[in-house]
Amino acid sequence: MRILEMVRSGKITPEEGEKLLAAIGQGEQKQAAAKRTMLRIRVDASDPESDGRAKVNVNVPLAIAKKAMGLLSLVPKETRKELSDKGIDLDAIDLRELIEMFESGGLTEELVNVETGTDEKGAKVKIYVD
């Protein structure tokens, strides 16, 4: 509002006002990223051959997640294989790089969100920060 008033009163040009609004938006985004400190891994997988189902929820503080990069190994083998059949290689995901991108504000959405199969027989892997 103050920026709009400054533009209206002619203290700054509309272009300058636009730049200021963009800068404020970026600052807020970075603040929000700084507040989010937990890496959450959600896996919900079902084995198509049997009635097996695996649910894994892991919450790890970001600072620790950066140190313990083997977290993706928590994804069950069956799910890993199923994802690999669909052309998704979990081993190729560099979590450290993704977290650093998130911290620098370059990434604001989920780090990984993969769904295969149907709701009944399929796998969902979601890794996000909040």
Binding site: D47, S50, D51, G52, R53, A54, K55, V56, N57, V58, N59, V60, P61, A63, I64, K67, A68, P76
Partner: protein, 91 residues
């Protein structure tokens, strides 16, 4: 408002129908690390990598303690012939 540091690790599990409940103070893990460091100091050939791992583990523990109450993990694996449920909480 300060966050109360986590003091206990609570692990509850159910393997088939057997319930398992383990609770221990986080301090125990510090003692384990310190003990391992003491033992390693007896060996002159202890690799730097092993020391680094222990230091990292100690740092990780500090970070975990600082987070406060945390639902660290919840794992539920259901198969026709078996069921395993594990919960790890920090309080």
């Amino acid at each position: 408002m300060s966050i109360r540091k986590a003091r206990f690790v609570i692990v509850s599990a159910r393997v088939k129908w057997f319930p398992v409940f383990i609770s221990f103070p986080l301090r125990c893990l510090y003692e384990v690390i310190e003990g391992a460091q003491d033992i390693m100091s007896l060996f002159t050939r202890a690799t730097g990598r092993a020391w680094k791992t222990l230091e990292d583990a100690e740092d990780a523990l500090d970070l975990i303690r600082g987070v406060g109450a945390l639902d660290f993990a919840s794992i539920d694996i259901k198969k026709p012939d078996a069921r395993v449920k594990i919960k790890v909480l920090l309080r």
